[in-house]
Amino acid sequence: MKPDMKSEMDRRERLWRGLLILLAMALPALAGYVVYEQMRAPLPSLLNALFVALTFWGVGVFVLWRRFPQDAARLFFLLTQCIGIGLLFFLAYPQKSNRPDWMTVLVSVGFHLSASLLFHYHLTFPVRLGSSRQRRWTLVLVYGLMLAVLAYRLSGTNAGLRVSFLYNTLEIFAAVGILVYAYRVYATPDDRRRLRLIVLGSLAAALPSFVLYLLPTIMGWPYRMTDWMVGPFIVIAPLSYFVAIARHNLFGIDRFLNRALVYAALWLGILLLYLGPFLLLIRFAPGDWLAQMMAAAGLTLAVGLAFERTKNALQRLTDRLFYGGWYDYPAVIEKTTRTLAGCVEREQLLQALTRQVPLLMQLRDSTLSFDDDSAALAPLSGAQLTLVFQGAPRALWNVGPHRDGDELSETDRRILDTLAHQAEIALGNVLLIETLHAQLEEIRASREALSQAQRRLLRSREDERACLARDLHDGPLQTLIGLNMQLGMLTSQSGGASAMDEMRAEIRGLLTDLRGVCVELRPPMLDTLGLAAAIRSLAKEWSAQNRVTVALDLPENSALQSLPGDVAVNLYRVAQESLSNVARHAHAGQVTIRLVREGNGLRMDIEDDGRGFAMPDNLDALAAQGHFGLVGLRERVNLIGGSLNLQSVPGQGTRIRVEWRPL
């Protein structure tokens, strides 16, 4: 598109916009004028006129506001404004004699224009009929004839009036005819749904007006209903448009209209509730303020009590009117997709497909069965969709028909297919997550089994060592002691034979070695004097061996009395292993061992002032570097249900902290 053409379009667009906005302000201004003028006129006709005219005005303005760029919306707006202006004066001034001439002209122009616009509108909406050339010529004819008839009408003769009514009626019937034709010919379920209400509404509005008003006027019959009674019937037409538009979301104003309708009805109800009794009161007891105030209070109470319930009932009614059989396609896709994307459990998937989708799509029911469900569900009359995962059908989604009994349309099926595709992805996620959960559970169980086996192994190793130590102690050690004792008797008797002394020394050496083995296997201190004594003994021996001072901070033996045997053994082993690590790597000058009772638990710190090392991120990295000792310590501590914490800074020593707490 060339730039100048574009700017030309912009100018036209701006002009259109300005004109439409001006026109949108015209009707309220005129209504204001009428209210000012007709203060003393009969109330019903004024209210009737305002209600009808403003209804048309409101519908037109909102449709235009929401869908300005669409030609149909502009046409609809023009139509509603013309009808609105025509009806405003027509209904507000029932007596033609009271009406200024310019108003009569406006009424005539409004009605003629609106009839032609209605025809124009239905020629292009909801289905464009004929070719654009045919449409253009038809419209030229219709609008041309309309101008001629209008001119004849304004001449003021009785024949002019009849001809104009005739032409208007013909136009309206042609418009309704086009609608019925479109309804019958383009009758897919979607279009039917779209058109059904418009056709019905138009018929409901046109027939009574025609039979009781237009026909008598044209034929000059005497029985003709009063002008203002036409209003309520005519209002049916725009209302049916509302609902049809809203149901099909033609202009995206369904929600707004829905709420507006509910509150307008509520407001009207409250107004009538107040107005009726007050009119009666004022008529029968004009000066009774007390009665008026009591009535006001009572009514307010009644309104307050009934408001919520009435609002909900109205909302339900309006929802049924609006959404019965219709739903908001993009919203269904959007909301369902969002829910499905968040599905990680079957229950969520089930909720989304059997609760949310039927609710959003106005379906009667929906079921979902997984392939491992034993009970197969009976297929519903709507659609049956299979959800496939990794090439195998894994779930069956049954969908019922619409709530109003309508079969599913092509659009419905397309949407359901799209949703089923999304659901397949969600199902895939759910199944994968379930598999992952199961595997995780297996891993957890096998880890638990492994750790129990390790614990058993460790315990049985300690048990075996203790057993071995006992056997050595009870067997060879005792034998040697006995032997030594008997030799002791002999030497005393034989007065110090050197061979005997040598044998005794030999035996004592053997005893020392054997004792060392026993202590290594199971320190006897641990079982007799407890952990603190055992550590004290260990530290003393280690200190003597390595020439490193060991500072001890240990509690009384009695404080550790309740410590379970395997905890004591393992803490002892941790101390033993730590000390041997210090001897091997640390080059320490001093080691501190601290045992602190913490509640029911116990904390053991082993600190050295050696050279330390750079801490890796975790102990597994240490194992990778070959420091299995520390890893072994951690395993030992884990097995008694404690925790091991290692801190080291190069040049500043190492601290091993074990914390244990009874389960």
């Binding site: 030799l487 008797m489 005893l511 003994s537």
Partner: protein, 124 residues
């Protein structure tokens, strides 16, 4: 004559110790293999001396010493053990035992010294 109670769970050691003590002229008036049995004997026999092993099943010798002393207040308690351990010595003293003797140091001269001790004490 010094009347001695031997408390040890090893029958072989009890037998050998009894022989040693006989030889040294001490009278073994009872043997027990744990503290519970020793308590009954100590109360009924009121020995002069109890030779108690440290590593006993159940209540160990160090814990048992004050209990035996309470039942037989005039009885001396000598703790013996297969293990050299100055910690044991300290604990033995703490528990109220008169002496701690590693088992491999037991010989006739030690046993005789016990007897002499007794006699010396009797003399004084």
């Amino acid at each position: 004559m010094t009347r001695v109670l031997i408390v040890d769970d090893q029958p072989a050691f009890r037998r050998q110790l009894r022989a040693l003590l006989d030889r040294a002229g001490l009278e073994v008036i009872g043997e027990a293999d744990d503290i519970a049995a020793a308590e009954a004997l100590a109360q009924s026999l009121q020995p002069d001396l109890a030779i108690v092993d440290v590593l006993l099943p159940g209540v160990n010798g160090i814990e048992g010493t004050p209990r035996l002393k309470w039942l037989a207040p005039n009885m001396r308690v000598f703790l013996v053990s297969a293990y050299h351990e100055c910690l044991l010595l300290a604990s033995a003293q703490e528990a109220g035992a008169e002496a701690f003797i590693p088992k491999d140091e037991l010989d006739l001269s030690v046993a005789l010294s016990w007897n002499e001790n007794k006699e010396k004490r009797n003399e004084t």
